[in-house]
Symmetry: C2
Subunit: 365 residues, 2 copies
C-alpha cells in the first residue's frame, strides 16, 4: 500500500454512508438504490396477445387444412387496453391486437397473416395447438421477484424498469452537502468589486464544480479574510454540512491561520502535512461526523487534493462503489488536469508524501 | 459504411447545431463553449511575491555575506491583498507574503528562511540579484491571450479558469428540448389509475432518462390513445420542441396510426421501416426544423433506437463532437442495455436493417 492509499483508507474509515431519501425516478439518475425493488404484481398482469391476429378456442380449428378450411364468426375485438367484454365460444373468433387481453374461452391466437377475413367470418386453413402467441400472466415477471438490488446505480434502463413497476419514486442514498470556504485577504468573489492586488477566489468555483461532477451538493460559503474570528464564523457555519473544504491558509506563513482555526473549533485533526506537489500541506480532520479538509489555496493543488481525498469520501457517502470508481477517475483526472491558465502539460502530482519536517509532523497521526 | 451508419449520417445532415445562451459557470458543466474566452487583463495584474519573505531593492544587499551581513530596516508589510502603501528605499525592507504586491522601489524578494529578524531589523548574509521570487505582471497570462476555445466541453478545470478571469457567466450552446409521446390504448401514466389490461407507459420514462443523461431537456407530453385526433393534438404540441420522439403506433397493425399522423401533420418522412431487432420499424422525418422520430412501443427497442438515432443528433445540437462520443457511448450502451425486466443477457440489437418489404419502403428516401 502506498502512503497515498494509506491516507485514503484513513479518510474512508472516517466516512459513513449517508441515509436515504425518496426522489422522483427522473431525478434518481446516477443515484444509488437504497433498497431492493420487488415486483408487487405479475407482469403481464393478465394473459395478453403477442401478435395481431384472432383469439380462438383451439378446438374450433381441429382438422382445419387447405383442403377443408374452417370459418369462424368474428364476434368482436380486443385491442390493447380495451378487453373484449364477453367470452369466446366454439365457432367464434375475436380480433386481437398485440397487447390485447385474451378473452375468456380463448386459448390460442392465430396471426393475422395465417387467417383470411371474409366479411363477418375469418377462415383458417390450418389447425393450431393451445397457447400459441400468448404472453401469459407473470411471464415477464412474477409478483415477489426482485427486479433491482440495493446498491445499484440508477441509469436510464433502471428508470424504465421502475416505471414498468409503477414506481413513480424511489428510495436512494442522500447526496452529501459540501461546504466550501476560501480564505485569504487577497481574494474577492463575484459579488465584490475587483481591486488592485486582489484576485478571484477561483478555487472556490473549481471545487464547487468538482462537487457537482461527483453528484453532491456544493454550499459556497465564500471568502474568509485572514482573520481568526471570520474564519471561525464561516467554519462553524460549514459544520452543518456533511463535508467542509477550506482552500488556503494552511501553510506556515504568518497569515496561514486555518489550522489554528480548525483546532479552535474543536476539529479532531487526523493528519496534516501531506506533501502534495506542486504545493503545500493538506489537513484532514472530523468533528461530530462532519469531515474537514484543509487544502492549499492554489487551484491546481486544491483540485488535485479533491480528486485524491474528497471524491472517494463523497462516493462512499452516496453508497457508490468508491474503490473501483476512484481508481478510474483519479488516474484519468490526473492526466487531464490542466488548471494552470496557459494549458501546458498535465500537473505533476506527487503521489509520494514527504517524510515530514524534523518534528515528525509529516506522519499521519 | 454500414446501413446503420448511412442512416445516422442522414439524420445528422438534417440536424443543426443550436444557438447560444448565457449560463452561470456552475451550471455550464458538460456544456460546450460557444465563443473563445480571451483574457481581459494580465494575470497576475501586478508584480507579486512568490514566497513569504522580504521585498527589497537588490542593491541594498550588495556585498552581503556571512562575514559581513547587511541589516535593513523593516518599514512595513505587504500581505496578500493589502499592498504596502509607500515605496521601499535603499536600506529598507518590507515583510511580504505569498501573493503580496511588490512595493515600489523593490525588485527582489528574499525568502524568510534566508533572512534573520532582529527587532525592527532584518539581517541578510548573502547578496541577491534583481527579480528573484517575483511573479511578474502577466506572467501567468497576458491580456488578449485565448484561454478557452469555442467547442471545448466545460469541466471543473474550465470552471476554475473562467472564475480566475472573473467570468461569472459563460456563453454555451443551447440544450435541445425533446418532446416525448407514448401512444397506445393500453398505456397509463402515473397520474392515472391502473386498470386491468393497462400497463405503464414505461418507455416514456426510459426515453426521458436517456434525454437527461445526454444533457438535453425532456418534455413528457404523456400518452396519446390510439386515436388520430388525439395523436395529432399531442404531436402538434410537440412541434415547438427541437425533437419529438413517439413511442408505439408505428407498425402495420390496425391501430398503428402514428405514421398516418406524421403525414397528416405534414412531417417530411426521410426514412421508414428500419429493421431494429428485437422489434418493429422506425420512422424519421422533419418539419420546420423539428426532428421527428417514431419508434416502437417496446421499451428495449425504443431505448436502443434512441442510442442509435437520437443521441448523435442531440450531441450535434449541443455542439459536441458527436462522432467520437457516439461511437463510444453506442457500443458501451449496447453491452450494458438490459431493459427486459428479468435482467437476462444484453439485447440483441440488429445493426443490419432489413432489405425492406417488396414495396421497397425499407430504403431511406
Amino acid at each position: 500500500m502506498t502512503e497515498l492509499q494509506r491516507i485514503q483508507r484513513l479518510i474512508l474509515e472516517a466516512t459513513s454512508v449517508l441515509g436515504r431519501e425518496t426522489v422522483p425516478i427522473l431525478e434518481s439518475l446516477g443515484r444509488v438504490l437504497a433498497v431492493d425493488t420487488v415486483a408487487a404484481e405479475d407482469i403481464p398482469g393478465v394473459d395478453i396477445s403477442a401478435v395481431d391476429g384472432f383469439a380462438v378456442f383451439h378446438g374450433s380449428l381441429q382438422g382445419a387444412s387447405t383442403q377443408s378450411p374452417v370459418p369462424l364468426r368474428i364476434i368482436g375485438e380486443s385491442p390493447a387496453g380495451r378487453p373484449f367484454g364477453t367470452g369466446v365460444g366454439r365457432g367464434e373468433a375475436v380480433r386481437i391486437m398485440t397487447g390485447g387481453v385474451i378473452p375468456d374461452g380463448a386459448d390460442a391466437v392465430v396471426k393475422r397473416e395465417d387467417a383470411e377475413e371474409r366479411g363477418s367470418l375469418v377462415v383458417f386453413a390450418a389447425s393450431h395447438g393451445p397457447g400459441g402467441n400468448i404472453r401469459f400472466k407473470g411471464e415477464a415477471l412474477k409478483r415477489g421477484e426482485t427486479v433491482l438490488f440495493a446498491g445499484e446505480v440508477i441509469g436510464a434502463v433502471e428508470v424504465c424498469k421502475l416505471a414498468s413497476l409503477r414506481r413513480s419514486h424511489v428510495l436512494v442514498h442522500q447526496k452529501p452537502v459540501v461546504a466550501i470556504i476560501s480564505t485569504g485577504d487577497e481574494l474577492t468573489d463575484f459579488h465584490e468589486p475587483s481591486l488592485p492586488g486582489k484576485i478571484m477566489c477561483s478555487t472556490l468555483y473549481g471545487l464547487a464544480a468538482q462537487v457537482l461532477e461527483t453528484g453532491a451538493v456544493p454550499l459556497l460559503l465564500g471568502v474568509a479574510q485572514d482573520d481568526p474570528a471570520e474564519q471561525r464564523k464561516l467554519l462553524s457555519e460549514g459544520l452543518r454540512a456533511d463535508v467542509v473544504i477550506t482552500s488556503g491558509g494552511i501553510a506556515n506563513g504568518k497569515y496561514d491561520l486555518m489550522r489554528q482555526t480548525f483546532r479552535a473549533v474543536g476539529v479532531d485533526i487526523k493528519f496534516t502535512n501531506i506533501a502534495l506537489k506542486p504545493n503545500k500541506p493538506a489537513v484532514f480532520g472530523a468533528i461530530n461526523g462532519t469531515l474537514i479538509f484543509g487544502f492549499p489555496g492554489n487551484p491546481s493543488a486544491g483540485m488535485i487534493s479533491f480528486e485524491q481525498f474528497v471524491r472517494p469520501a463523497l462516493l462512499k457517502m452516496m453508497g457508490r462503489n468508491y474503490f473501483d470508481e476512484v481508481k478510474q477517475s483519479f488516474f484519468s483526472s490526473i492526466d487531464s488536469f490542466r488548471p494552470d491558465l496557459k494549458g501546458g502539460g498535465p500537473l505533476r502530482a506527487s503521489l509520494v508524501p514527504d517524510r515530514g519536517p524534523a518534528t515528525g509532523k509529516g506522519k499521519p497521526s
